[in-house]
Structure formats: C-alpha cells, structure tokens
C-alpha cells in the first residue's frame, strides 16, 4: 500500500542501556548490573557491549555518540536511558522520531522519574497548551 511506513520485524533484538551511576564506587553500576543480571547484556565479536555506564568522567560527546550508535544499529529494538542522562542530550532525544528502536527514559537510583522532562509527555503538553491558546484566541 502506498505511503505505509514499514516496520522492520525482528525475531531476536537487543535492549541497549545508557545509565547514569554518579557518585562514589559503592553507588555505581546498579541499574546496568541489575539488567545484566536479567540477561540483557550482549558482547559482540568486536568486544562492543550493548550498554554504556555513564560516570563523572563520561563526556557529553561520548553519550551522544553512544546514543547515535544504539539508535542506528539494526539489532537493537529498545534503548533504555536514564532520564538524568537523557537531559544531558535532550536535544538529540527530543529530535529522535523513529518507531524502532523505542527510546524509554527510566529513573535512576539518585534521580527519580520526572514526567515534565519526558520527551513524549512534554510534546503532548506543548500540543495541548498551544491548542488551548489557539482556542482562547478564537
């Protein structure tokens, strides 16, 4: 059918993770470690992992590069990103509009989830606030 967006189907896709673990050593790794315990960790033949642990030494450029890499890889279906880390590359996250991989912002141990910063919810809020302003003018 003309104009119908094609969704690539996959029988075995990966979950990628970009999680923040700021703070001292005892507080590090928890989110990524937990999900690795659940079996989502993948290391390919080039010894590249499907996760990035963000610490105090990780630059914004490195986070951006990891985000771009995970969102362009064909074998990744969902990218989990701590909302705190997503705020560092907010422009990149908000401008992403492909259905796959899906970008999910998750809370981290030190930074609880804030709906006001979620990229989808803020888009919805902007739409409805613009609509209420427009209807007010009418």
């Amino acid at each position: 059918m003309a104009g119908r967006a094609q969704i690539p189907t996959k029988s075995s896709a990966l979950i990628a993770m970009i999680a923040d673990e700021f703070g001292v050593v005892l507080l590090c790794w928890d989110t990524v470690t937990g999900f690795l315990l659940a079996g989502v960790g993948n290391v390919d033949l080039r010894r590249k992992t499907n996760y990035l642990i963000v610490d105090s030494k990780t630059t914004v450029k490195a986070i951006e590069d990891a985000f771009k890499e995970f969102t362009t890889k064909e074998d990744i279906a969902i990218v989990l990103i701590s909302q705190y880390v997503a705020n560092m590359i907010r422009f990149l996250v908000d401008s992403y509009n492909k259905p796959i991989p899906a970008i999910l912002e998750i809370p981290s141990k030190d930074h609880p989830y804030d709906p006001a910063h979620d990229s989808v919810l803020s888009r919805v809020k902007n739409l409805f606030s613009a609509e209420s302003v427009a209807s007010g003018r009418r």
Partner: protein
C-alpha cells in the same frame, strides 16, 4: 424541499460521525497516556526494590564481590531478547509490537523463543526419574537446586493451567555466576526484580508506540479542525 432536508440530515450525520471518530482517538490517546504513567510508576517501585536488594547483596557478600570489574566482557549473546512484530493499526499505518523472550536457550546454536512453551510429557518423565538419582547422591548441590526450581515452575503452571513459560535455569544461573558460585539470596531476589522491571518496560514500550500513534492522529485532527 425534501431533498434539501435529506442533504442537511446527511451532512449532520457526517459531522456526527467525524466527531465520534475524533472523540475515539482522543479517548484512546488519553487511555494509553494513563496506562503509560501508571506503568512508569510501577517501574519506579520495582527498580527501587531491585536497587535495595542489590545493595543488601553487596552488604552481605562484600563490595569486592559485586562490582563493575566482574562484568562479563567475554563475547556472549544476550540471553534475554525481544521479538518485534508489526501490528496493523489501520490500512495506512502499522506500529511495532514488542515481545520479551526471557532466557532464550542458545545451546544448539539456534535461539529458541523461551516464551510460552509447554512442557512435554517426556520432560515430566525425565524429571521424575532424575529425582531418585539426585537424592541418593550427596554431590551436586547446584544441580539439585536447579532441578527444584524447574519442578516448582512446572507445579505453578499445572496449577494455574496457563500456558507454560520455559525459563532456561542454566542461563539464569550463569548470569548469577559472574559474582561467584554461592551468592546471597538477595542477589537472586534482585535478579527477579529486574526481570519484572524488564517485563514492565516491554509493556511500557508497547504503550509508548500506541500513545505516539494516537497522539499523531489527534494532532492531525486538531490541525484539520483549525485549518
């Protein structure tokens, strides 16, 4: 005059149907939005529990036994993966549907689904014959533990009558073995908590795509109304 009234009636019916469609899109969007926020709240609770259990395990086992240096950097495939299928929303649009495949076995070089598989009678028979062998031999503690877990899995599914989910206990144990042979029960609990978090995340992902799809529809309708 009769024709004018008929035309007016048809126009009113058309407007009514349009309004009904718009309301339907809006309701579906709001419904998915509500589900999304509820699931995120549930995810936060599950993750909090997982973090607490991980911290308890670290306290019990020591920080040297649970740290990032132990993460497995050898080449290995993910034991838990996703299946992406296409779901038709309408004739012009489709959206992805995610299904979690937990602990898919990769022993034969092929990945099996690991989800919604029923235990065959052959497997049940094998479990019964193994039972007497393990009790008589005092050696394999871990084998007995794995066997016990798989028996419990079978019991639960038989009792509920729901489709059985085949969980690869060896993969789960392998994931834990990164932190040593004997691990704290809290670490096992943390593993289960994060597994539950993964299930919630897949539900969130599906609602996320539905929400985005409905949002686009509502946005289009609003633009048409304003235009």
């Amino acid at each position: 005059m009769m024709e004018d009234q008929e035309e007016k009636g048809n126009a009113e019916n058309g407007i009514g149907r349009q309004k009904q469609v718009k309301d339907e899109y809006l309701l579906q969007f709001l419904d998915s939005l509500d589900g999304y926020l509820t699931l995120l709240d549930s995810l936060s609770s599950t993750l909090s529990q997982g973090w607490l259990e991980l911290a308890s395990a670290r306290h019990a086992m020591g920080a040297s036994r649970i740290n990032g240096a132990l993460l497995d950097l050898k080449v290995h495939a993910a034991a838990t993966s996703l299946k992406v299928s296409e779901q038709d929303v309408d004739s012009m649009e489709s959206q992805p549907c995610f299904t979690l495949c937990k602990w898919a076995s990769s022993d034969n070089g092929e990945r099996s689904s690991g989800e919604e598989k029923s235990l065959s009678p052959q497997l049940r028979h094998r479990n019964n014959s193994q039972l007497s062998g393990i009790i008589s031999s005092p050696v394999s503690f871990s084998h007995f533990f794995n066997f016990f877990l798989s028996c419990e899995e079978e019991k639960v599914s038989t009792r509920t009558g729901t489709p059985l989910i085949l969980v690869d206990q060896q993969q789960r144990q392998k994931s834990l073995s990164v932190f040593g042979v004997l691990v704290s029960p809290k670490l096992r609990s943390a593993q289960l908590s994060f597994e539950r978090a993964l299930e919630t995340l897949v539900e969130i992902a599906n609602l996320h795509t539905t929400m985005l799809s409905m949002f686009e529809q509502v946005h289009k309708e609003l633009e048409n109304t304003n235009g």
